[in-house]
């Protein structure tokens, strides 16, 4: 008990002196994670869409070569950035560019470097998620769109991408939460996020454990809020469970041909979207975060 009292006292001391630094760290971490996840999603969607351009053996040579090249480049990008630690990527990009260009190309702000590194890293993971999300949309949807005369681009924009986006929302959430935590490795290029505040505070006061407690609590709060917001967005995307009948025809109502949709569970016919999401999550697993 007295240990706990001591811990609280220590934390109080830490917050008194370094409270501003911690808060500043939280702010920087959140901004970096949000911006980089957003840019990463854009990169991921671009790669995913480019990778799923349909191709057939009857296409002309130029198109086939271009598509093949494109796939190769995207594949290489995904494998390299998924297959190396983000700490090293940060070092490579932040110090590597000035090294090779004799300081002609360098980062004026550590922000630009940090956002760039985290974005392209997220993009590499998202590329695969988006590809999976697009593939998992029922092929019948594409056929339905084609049958009313939509072009490939129209089909993608109006029918496939919105459904793929819904399917991969859990993955986007995963990425945001992982980014909130993993941006801590950006201390390597002296980016002052939340974890950097711990290094500063603990280095000066030697209160390693109390500071780590503050950090743990802080990170958990951030991720909990993030996951709460993401769930809420998912709900919004699904729309209402019920619908109103537009009652402009008394005969239809009198004939009793309307029905009330039941609440349902994720595993019955009516609730296909949420069942698909469950299947999707099981299939994709948590494939990040173990780096």
């Amino acid at each position: 008990m007295e240990k706990l009292t001591k811990l609280f006292a220590d934390i109080q001391v830490l917050l008194g002196t370094y409270g501003g630094a911690y808060l500043n760290g939280v702010r920087n971490t959140l901004i970096l994670a949000l911006v980089a996840t957003a840019i990463g999603c854009v990169i991921g969607f671009l790669c995913g869409i480019l990778q799923t351009i349909p191709h057939s053996k009857t296409d002309n040579m130029v198109k086939r070569v271009l598509l093949g090249l494109l796939r190769g480049v995207i594949r290489a990008y995904v494998e390299i950035f998924r297959g190396t630690p983000m700490v090293l990527q940060a070092v490579f990009i932040y110090y590597g560019l000035p090294y090779f260009t004799d300081n002609a190309v360098r980062f004026e702000s550590v922000w630009a470097a940090a956002i760039l590194v985290v974005s392209i890293n997220t993009g590499a993971y998202m590329a695969e998620s988006v590809r999976g999300g697009i593939i998992s949309v029922d092929p019948g949807q594409t056929e339905g769109a084609k049958a009313i005369g939509m072009t490939h681009v129209q089909t993608m924009v109006n029918v496939i991408i919105p459904q793929a986006l819904r399917n991969i929302m859990p993955q986007i959430g995963n990425n945001l939460i992982i980014n909130i935590k993993d941006t801590s490795v950006m201390f390597i290029i002296s980016f002052t996020e939340f974890f950097a505040a711990h290094r500063a505070a603990a280095g000066a006061t030697y209160k390693y454990f109390p500071s780590a407690t503050v950090e743990m609590f802080g990170y958990l709060c951030m991720t909990l809020v993030a996951s709460f917001i993401l769930r809420w967005i998912e709900k919004k995307l699904d729309g209402a469970d019920n619908y109103e009948l537009v009652n402009d025809d008394q005969l239809v109502m009198a004939a009793g041909t309307y029905n009330y949709p039941d609440k349902g569970t994720p595993f019955d016919e009516r609730h296909k979207p949420s069942r698909d999401t469950v299947i999707q999550e099981v299939k994709l697993g948590r494939n990040r975060g173990e780096r």
């Binding site: 019948g140 769109a145 049958a147 009313i148 005369g149 939509m150």
Partner: protein, 246 residues
């Protein structure tokens, strides 16, 4: 002779070495209701999918108002917007409401204004009896309701021909009637239709041309009274006998 809309000439389709369709020939004139019948695996659906270019024919021609649509450089999306299709599995867009399903094609493909698209969509939804459900999402509807929306979606594009690929096969028995009666109304309204079906009663009562397919070829074709009432080939007789017994 009535206006010829579709002419299918020597159409063949193979998947690898497997020949699914062989030398198919028939003509669809304006106002015709053609029922395509035959056992499973006889190539009926593939034929319909070829007509809509969802499958590329291996050889042969499909003439739409006299112009071949199978060649290179044909604008397939443009052609498809004149040829509606209703699928066995409905294929309604899951991310849109019933109304939006019927509007999106008009707005994106036919470039109609939102208000115009809405009016047209409502008119056809009314026709198939789904107007009260415009705010529902496809997942909230029953099979028969979904199929009626799918028909309205196809009609809203103002097609010259409507293709039906086993429209009632995925439905519970009590919902088959509502879809068939919508189709019957369309036929009596003069819609040109090509229907792949297992509903012999529909073929007999509604169509004016029946095509019986077996193993990728047209075995027998003609007026329903002839093909269904007085089949010439033994295969056709056997096929129809199975339906009579059931």
């Amino acid at each position: 002779m009535a206006d010829t809309i579709l002419e299918i000439r020597h159409l063949s389709k193979s998947f690898g070495s497997h020949e699914v369709l062989r030398d198919i020939d028939f003509t669809v004139s304006k106002g015709d209701v053609t029922a395509i019948i035959g056992a499973s695996g006889s190539g009926k659906s593939t034929l319909l999918r070829c007509v809509n270019l969802l499958e590329t024919p291996t050889s042969g021609e499909i003439l739409f108002h006299g112009k071949d649509v199978t060649g290179r450089g044909v604008n397939a999306p443009e052609y498809r917007s004149h040829v509606g299709m209703v699928f066995q599995s409905f294929n309604l867009f899951n991310n849109m409401t019933v109304l939006k399903n019927c509007m999106v094609g008009q707005m994106k493909v036919l470039k109609k204004s939102k208000e115009e698209a809405r009016q047209t969509a409502l008119r056809y939804l009314q026709q198939v009896g789904m107007a009260p459900y415009i705010k529902a999402k496809p997942r909230q509807l029953s099979g028969g309701q979904k199929q009626r929306v799918a028909i309205a979606r196809a009609l809203a594009m103002g097609p010259e021909v409507l293709l039906f690929d086993e429209p009632t096969s995925a439905l519970d028995p009590e919902m088959v009637g509502e879809v068939l009666s919508v189709m019957q109304d369309l036929a009596s309204g003069g819609m040109t239709m090509l229907v792949v079906t297992h509903e012999m009663a529909f073929a007999r009562d509604v169509s004016n041309q029946v095509v019986y397919m077996s193993q990728g070829v047209i075995c027998e074709q003609g007026a329903p009274a002839d093909v269904l009432g007085n089949p010439q080939r033994q295969e056709t007789k056997d096929f129809l006998a199975r339906f009579r017994n059931s």
